[in-house]
Symmetry: C2
Subunit: 155 residues, 2 copies
DNA sequence: ATCAAACAAGACTAAAAAGTCTTTTTAATA
DNA sequence: TATTAAAAAGACTTTTTAGTCTTGTTTGAT
Protein backbone atom coordinates (compact mmCIF):
# COMPACT_ATOMS: atom_id res chain seq x y z
CA UNK A 1 0.00 0.00 0.00
CA UNK A 2 2.79 2.43 0.97
CA UNK A 3 1.00 5.65 1.59
CA UNK A 4 3.59 8.34 2.22
CA UNK A 5 3.73 10.22 5.52
CA UNK A 6 1.02 12.70 6.22
CA UNK A 7 1.99 14.66 9.30
CA UNK A 8 5.63 14.35 10.26
CA UNK A 9 8.61 14.24 12.53
CA UNK A 10 6.77 13.79 15.76
CA UNK A 11 9.43 13.15 18.30
CA UNK A 12 9.81 14.37 21.85
CA UNK A 13 12.09 17.32 21.13
CA UNK A 14 12.02 19.83 18.30
CA UNK A 15 14.89 19.65 15.83
CA UNK A 16 16.15 22.90 17.29
CA UNK A 17 16.17 21.31 20.71
CA UNK A 18 18.02 18.27 19.42
CA UNK A 19 20.76 20.57 18.10
CA UNK A 20 20.78 22.44 21.39
CA UNK A 21 21.30 19.29 23.44
CA UNK A 22 24.01 18.00 21.12
CA UNK A 23 25.77 21.37 21.16
CA UNK A 24 25.63 21.60 24.94
CA UNK A 25 27.08 18.12 25.30
CA UNK A 26 29.88 18.95 22.88
CA UNK A 27 30.74 22.23 24.58
CA UNK A 28 30.71 20.56 28.00
CA UNK A 29 32.96 17.83 26.75
CA UNK A 30 35.46 20.34 25.40
CA UNK A 31 35.20 22.43 28.55
CA UNK A 32 35.95 19.39 30.68
CA UNK A 33 39.16 19.27 28.68
CA UNK A 34 39.85 22.93 29.37
CA UNK A 35 39.03 23.92 25.81
CA UNK A 36 36.78 26.70 24.57
CA UNK A 37 35.05 26.23 21.20
CA UNK A 38 33.55 28.37 18.45
CA UNK A 39 30.38 28.13 16.37
CA UNK A 40 32.16 26.69 13.33
CA UNK A 41 33.75 23.88 15.30
CA UNK A 42 30.54 23.06 17.17
CA UNK A 43 28.43 23.01 14.01
CA UNK A 44 30.94 20.72 12.33
CA UNK A 45 31.14 18.34 15.25
CA UNK A 46 27.42 17.99 15.84
CA UNK A 47 26.59 18.21 12.12
CA UNK A 48 24.22 21.13 12.33
CA UNK A 49 23.81 24.17 10.04
CA UNK A 50 26.32 26.76 11.16
CA UNK A 51 24.27 30.00 11.20
CA UNK A 52 21.33 28.26 12.79
CA UNK A 53 23.61 26.80 15.40
CA UNK A 54 24.70 30.35 16.17
CA UNK A 55 21.10 31.27 16.86
CA UNK A 56 20.59 28.32 19.15
CA UNK A 57 23.78 29.03 21.07
CA UNK A 58 22.64 32.61 21.61
CA UNK A 59 19.50 31.27 23.18
CA UNK A 60 21.44 28.90 25.41
CA UNK A 61 23.58 31.83 26.54
CA UNK A 62 20.48 33.87 27.40
CA UNK A 63 19.12 30.93 29.32
CA UNK A 64 22.37 30.80 31.27
CA UNK A 65 23.20 27.28 30.21
CA UNK A 66 26.41 28.08 28.35
CA UNK A 67 28.81 31.01 28.58
CA UNK A 68 30.05 33.00 25.61
CA UNK A 69 33.23 35.00 25.32
CA UNK A 70 33.20 37.60 22.56
CA UNK A 71 36.15 38.86 20.60
CA UNK A 72 39.31 37.36 19.27
CA UNK A 73 40.03 34.05 20.95
CA UNK A 74 36.48 33.89 22.26
CA UNK A 75 33.99 31.09 22.02
CA UNK A 76 31.65 29.06 24.19
CA UNK A 77 32.31 27.18 27.39
CA UNK A 78 30.64 25.76 30.46
CA UNK A 79 32.34 25.94 33.87
CA UNK A 80 32.88 22.44 35.18
CA UNK A 81 31.23 23.28 38.51
CA UNK A 82 27.95 23.60 36.62
CA UNK A 83 27.98 20.17 35.01
CA UNK A 84 25.98 18.59 37.78
CA UNK A 85 23.65 21.56 38.11
CA UNK A 86 22.60 21.76 34.46
CA UNK A 87 19.85 19.24 33.68
CA UNK A 88 18.34 18.03 30.42
CA UNK A 89 15.17 19.67 31.66
CA UNK A 90 16.85 23.08 31.58
CA UNK A 91 17.88 22.73 27.96
CA UNK A 92 14.50 21.42 26.84
CA UNK A 93 12.65 24.19 28.65
CA UNK A 94 14.98 26.85 27.27
CA UNK A 95 14.30 25.77 23.69
CA UNK A 96 10.92 24.06 23.52
CA UNK A 97 9.20 25.72 26.44
CA UNK A 98 7.08 23.51 28.60
CA UNK A 99 4.57 21.98 26.23
CA UNK A 100 6.22 18.63 26.65
CA UNK A 101 5.78 18.93 30.41
CA UNK A 102 2.21 20.22 30.45
CA UNK A 103 0.33 19.83 27.24
CA UNK A 104 -2.46 17.25 26.99
CA UNK A 105 -1.49 14.44 24.64
CA UNK A 106 -4.68 15.02 22.65
CA UNK A 107 -4.29 18.80 22.66
CA UNK A 108 -7.16 19.51 25.05
CA UNK A 109 -6.88 22.65 27.14
CA UNK A 110 -8.98 21.54 30.03
CA UNK A 111 -7.52 18.08 30.45
CA UNK A 112 -6.57 17.32 34.05
CA UNK A 113 -6.87 14.58 36.64
CA UNK A 114 -10.36 15.81 37.42
CA UNK A 115 -11.51 16.19 33.84
CA UNK A 116 -9.27 13.80 31.94
CA UNK A 117 -9.16 13.17 28.21
CA UNK A 118 -9.62 9.54 27.18
CA UNK A 119 -5.85 8.96 27.07
CA UNK A 120 -4.95 10.94 30.19
CA UNK A 121 -4.58 8.13 32.70
CA UNK A 122 -2.46 6.02 30.40
CA UNK A 123 -0.32 8.95 29.29
CA UNK A 124 0.31 10.56 32.64
CA UNK A 125 2.74 7.99 34.10
CA UNK A 126 4.73 8.01 30.86
CA UNK A 127 5.09 11.74 30.94
CA UNK A 128 5.87 11.82 34.64
CA UNK A 129 8.59 9.30 34.02
CA UNK A 130 10.00 11.39 31.18
CA UNK A 131 9.91 14.51 33.33
CA UNK A 132 11.69 12.73 36.14
CA UNK A 133 14.36 11.51 33.78
CA UNK A 134 14.87 14.98 32.30
CA UNK A 135 15.02 16.44 35.79
CA UNK A 136 17.48 13.82 37.02
CA UNK A 137 19.82 13.72 34.04
CA UNK A 138 22.61 16.24 34.38
CA UNK A 139 25.17 17.38 31.89
CA UNK A 140 27.70 15.49 34.00
CA UNK A 141 25.74 12.28 33.36
CA UNK A 142 25.57 12.98 29.65
CA UNK A 143 29.24 13.66 29.10
CA UNK A 144 30.61 10.93 31.33
CA UNK A 145 30.30 8.14 28.79
CA UNK A 146 30.76 10.55 25.91
CA UNK A 147 34.19 11.54 27.15
CA UNK A 148 35.16 7.92 27.59
CA UNK A 149 34.08 7.18 24.01
CA UNK A 150 31.14 4.96 24.96
CA UNK A 151 28.48 7.24 23.49
CA UNK A 152 28.48 9.26 20.28
CA UNK A 153 27.20 12.39 18.60
CA UNK A 154 27.72 11.28 15.00
CA UNK A 155 25.15 11.39 12.22
CA UNK B 1 13.40 37.46 32.52
CA UNK B 2 10.53 36.12 30.46
CA UNK B 3 12.13 35.27 27.19
CA UNK B 4 9.38 34.17 24.80
CA UNK B 5 9.35 30.69 23.31
CA UNK B 6 11.92 29.88 20.71
CA UNK B 7 11.03 26.56 19.15
CA UNK B 8 7.53 25.36 19.84
CA UNK B 9 4.78 22.85 20.45
CA UNK B 10 6.89 19.81 21.09
CA UNK B 11 4.53 17.15 22.26
CA UNK B 12 4.38 13.46 21.49
CA UNK B 13 1.85 13.63 18.67
CA UNK B 14 1.49 16.16 15.85
CA UNK B 15 -1.56 18.41 16.03
CA UNK B 16 -2.93 16.52 13.05
CA UNK B 17 -2.55 13.29 15.00
CA UNK B 18 -4.28 14.77 18.03
CA UNK B 19 -7.28 15.63 15.85
CA UNK B 20 -7.16 12.14 14.34
CA UNK B 21 -7.29 10.43 17.72
CA UNK B 22 -10.06 12.69 18.97
CA UNK B 23 -12.06 12.12 15.78
CA UNK B 24 -11.62 8.36 15.95
CA UNK B 25 -12.80 8.28 19.55
CA UNK B 26 -15.83 10.38 18.71
CA UNK B 27 -16.78 8.26 15.70
CA UNK B 28 -16.35 5.07 17.70
CA UNK B 29 -18.49 6.46 20.47
CA UNK B 30 -21.26 7.33 18.02
CA UNK B 31 -20.89 3.98 16.28
CA UNK B 32 -21.26 2.17 19.58
CA UNK B 33 -24.61 3.93 19.74
CA UNK B 34 -25.49 2.78 16.22
CA UNK B 35 -25.02 6.26 14.79
CA UNK B 36 -23.10 7.34 11.70
CA UNK B 37 -21.62 10.85 11.69
CA UNK B 38 -20.49 13.45 9.16
CA UNK B 39 -17.51 15.78 8.93
CA UNK B 40 -19.41 18.81 10.16
CA UNK B 41 -20.65 17.05 13.26
CA UNK B 42 -17.26 15.53 14.04
CA UNK B 43 -15.42 18.84 13.58
CA UNK B 44 -17.88 20.57 15.85
CA UNK B 45 -17.69 17.94 18.55
CA UNK B 46 -13.91 17.65 18.67
CA UNK B 47 -13.40 21.38 18.00
CA UNK B 48 -11.23 21.01 14.93
CA UNK B 49 -11.23 22.97 11.64
CA UNK B 50 -13.82 21.39 9.38
CA UNK B 51 -12.01 21.13 6.03
CA UNK B 52 -8.81 19.96 7.69
CA UNK B 53 -10.77 17.36 9.59
CA UNK B 54 -12.04 16.12 6.24
CA UNK B 55 -8.45 15.61 5.12
CA UNK B 56 -7.57 13.71 8.24
CA UNK B 57 -10.64 11.48 8.02
CA UNK B 58 -9.70 10.63 4.42
CA UNK B 59 -6.37 9.47 5.66
CA UNK B 60 -7.93 7.37 8.41
CA UNK B 61 -10.20 5.76 5.82
CA UNK B 62 -7.20 4.88 3.63
CA UNK B 63 -5.47 3.42 6.65
CA UNK B 64 -8.56 1.29 7.24
CA UNK B 65 -9.19 2.68 10.69
CA UNK B 66 -12.58 4.19 9.94
CA UNK B 67 -15.16 3.44 7.25
CA UNK B 68 -16.77 6.06 5.06
CA UNK B 69 -20.09 5.92 3.26
CA UNK B 70 -20.44 8.39 0.43
CA UNK B 71 -23.60 9.99 -0.84
CA UNK B 72 -26.78 11.24 0.74
CA UNK B 73 -27.09 9.92 4.27
CA UNK B 74 -23.48 8.88 4.29
CA UNK B 75 -20.83 9.59 6.88
CA UNK B 76 -18.21 7.81 8.92
CA UNK B 77 -18.47 4.82 11.20
CA UNK B 78 -16.46 2.05 12.80
CA UNK B 79 -17.87 -1.46 13.13
CA UNK B 80 -18.04 -2.41 16.80
CA UNK B 81 -16.19 -5.68 16.19
CA UNK B 82 -13.11 -3.60 15.41
CA UNK B 83 -13.03 -1.62 18.64
CA UNK B 84 -10.70 -4.05 20.34
CA UNK B 85 -8.55 -4.53 17.23
CA UNK B 86 -7.83 -0.86 16.56
CA UNK B 87 -5.00 0.40 18.76
CA UNK B 88 -3.66 3.87 19.48
CA UNK B 89 -0.53 2.71 17.73
CA UNK B 90 -2.45 2.26 14.46
CA UNK B 91 -3.76 5.82 14.52
CA UNK B 92 -0.41 7.32 15.41
CA UNK B 93 1.40 5.36 12.72
CA UNK B 94 -1.23 6.26 10.12
CA UNK B 95 -0.80 9.97 10.74
CA UNK B 96 2.69 10.57 12.14
CA UNK B 97 4.50 7.61 10.65
CA UNK B 98 6.96 5.90 12.92
CA UNK B 99 9.36 8.62 13.96
CA UNK B 100 8.02 8.45 17.47
CA UNK B 101 8.76 4.73 17.54
CA UNK B 102 12.20 4.80 15.96
CA UNK B 103 13.83 8.17 15.83
CA UNK B 104 16.76 8.94 18.11
CA UNK B 105 15.83 11.52 20.72
CA UNK B 106 18.77 13.68 19.65
CA UNK B 107 18.12 13.19 15.93
CA UNK B 108 21.11 10.95 15.26
CA UNK B 109 20.75 8.51 12.40
CA UNK B 110 23.17 5.93 13.65
CA UNK B 111 22.02 5.82 17.25
CA UNK B 112 21.44 2.28 18.47
CA UNK B 113 22.14 0.04 21.45
CA UNK B 114 25.60 -0.62 19.99
CA UNK B 115 26.40 2.97 19.14
CA UNK B 116 24.22 4.97 21.50
CA UNK B 117 23.83 8.72 21.72
CA UNK B 118 24.46 10.19 25.16
CA UNK B 119 20.75 10.08 26.05
CA UNK B 120 19.97 6.70 24.51
CA UNK B 121 20.04 4.51 27.58
CA UNK B 122 17.89 6.87 29.60
CA UNK B 123 15.45 7.46 26.77
CA UNK B 124 14.97 3.91 25.59
CA UNK B 125 12.90 2.60 28.50
CA UNK B 126 10.64 5.64 28.30
CA UNK B 127 10.02 5.10 24.64
CA UNK B 128 9.54 1.37 25.05
CA UNK B 129 6.97 2.08 27.70
CA UNK B 130 5.19 4.54 25.45
CA UNK B 131 5.22 2.03 22.59
CA UNK B 132 3.81 -0.68 24.80
CA UNK B 133 1.05 1.61 25.98
CA UNK B 134 0.14 2.64 22.42
CA UNK B 135 0.19 -1.01 21.38
CA UNK B 136 -1.96 -2.11 24.28
CA UNK B 137 -4.52 0.67 24.27
CA UNK B 138 -7.46 -0.17 22.04
CA UNK B 139 -10.28 2.02 20.84
CA UNK B 140 -12.49 -0.07 23.13
CA UNK B 141 -10.37 1.07 26.10
CA UNK B 142 -10.55 4.69 24.98
CA UNK B 143 -14.31 4.88 24.55
CA UNK B 144 -15.30 2.88 27.61
CA UNK B 145 -14.97 5.74 30.07
CA UNK B 146 -15.85 8.29 27.39
CA UNK B 147 -19.23 6.69 26.84
CA UNK B 148 -19.88 6.59 30.55
CA UNK B 149 -19.05 10.29 30.83
CA UNK B 150 -15.89 9.83 32.88
CA UNK B 151 -13.53 11.22 30.25
CA UNK B 152 -13.95 14.17 27.89
CA UNK B 153 -13.04 15.58 24.50
CA UNK B 154 -13.82 19.21 25.26
CA UNK B 155 -11.47 22.16 24.67
C1' DA C 1 45.29 52.60 17.40
C1' DT C 2 44.30 49.12 14.17
C1' DC C 3 43.12 44.71 12.76
C1' DA C 4 41.18 40.40 12.85
C1' DA C 5 38.61 36.92 15.00
C1' DA C 6 35.17 35.94 17.53
C1' DC C 7 29.81 36.37 19.13
C1' DA C 8 25.12 39.29 18.85
C1' DA C 9 21.21 40.97 16.64
C1' DG C 10 17.84 41.31 13.48
C1' DA C 11 15.90 41.16 8.93
C1' DC C 12 15.26 37.93 5.59
C1' DT C 13 14.22 33.27 3.05
C1' DA C 14 12.93 28.36 2.67
C1' DA C 15 10.63 24.32 3.98
C1' DA C 16 7.33 21.88 6.50
C1' DA C 17 2.99 21.62 8.84
C1' DA C 18 -1.54 23.17 9.24
C1' DG C 19 -5.49 24.67 7.17
C1' DT C 20 -8.84 26.24 3.04
C1' DC C 21 -11.33 26.14 -1.23
C1' DT C 22 -13.22 24.33 -5.39
C1' DT C 23 -14.49 20.65 -8.14
C1' DT C 24 -15.66 15.85 -8.72
C1' DT C 25 -17.70 11.50 -7.43
C1' DT C 26 -21.10 8.79 -5.11
C1' DA C 27 -25.55 7.22 -3.71
C1' DA C 28 -30.11 7.67 -1.51
C1' DT C 29 -34.59 9.46 -2.45
C1' DA C 30 -38.29 12.19 -4.35
C1' DT D 1 -33.86 10.67 -13.73
C1' DA D 2 -33.06 14.98 -11.30
C1' DT D 3 -31.92 16.56 -6.89
C1' DT D 4 -29.41 16.70 -2.95
C1' DA D 5 -26.38 15.50 0.69
C1' DA D 6 -22.64 13.41 1.60
C1' DA D 7 -17.23 12.16 1.06
C1' DA D 8 -12.84 12.35 -2.21
C1' DA D 9 -9.37 14.72 -4.49
C1' DG D 10 -6.29 18.05 -5.37
C1' DA D 11 -4.72 22.70 -5.85
C1' DC D 12 -4.06 26.43 -3.07
C1' DT D 13 -2.96 29.59 1.18
C1' DT D 14 -1.30 30.53 5.78
C1' DT D 15 1.38 29.77 9.76
C1' DT D 16 5.12 27.81 12.08
C1' DT D 17 9.60 25.97 12.18
C1' DA D 18 13.98 25.84 10.30
C1' DG D 19 17.63 28.10 8.36
C1' DT D 20 20.49 32.24 6.07
C1' DC D 21 22.66 36.65 5.50
C1' DT D 22 24.31 41.09 6.63
C1' DT D 23 25.76 44.31 9.78
C1' DG D 24 27.25 45.50 14.28
C1' DT D 25 29.89 44.85 18.68
C1' DT D 26 33.48 43.11 21.50
C1' DT D 27 38.21 42.08 22.56
C1' DG D 28 42.92 40.13 22.23
C1' DA D 29 47.10 40.76 19.74
C1' DT D 30 50.20 43.42 17.00
Amino acid sequence: MELPNFAQISTMFSKTCEYAIRATIYIASESSDGKRCGIKEIARKIESPEPFTGKILQRLVKANIIHSIKGNGGGFEIPQEEFTKIKMEDIVRAIDGDDLFNRCSLGLHECSDDQPCPFHHKYKPIRENLKKTLRDTSLADLILKFNSGDTYLKL
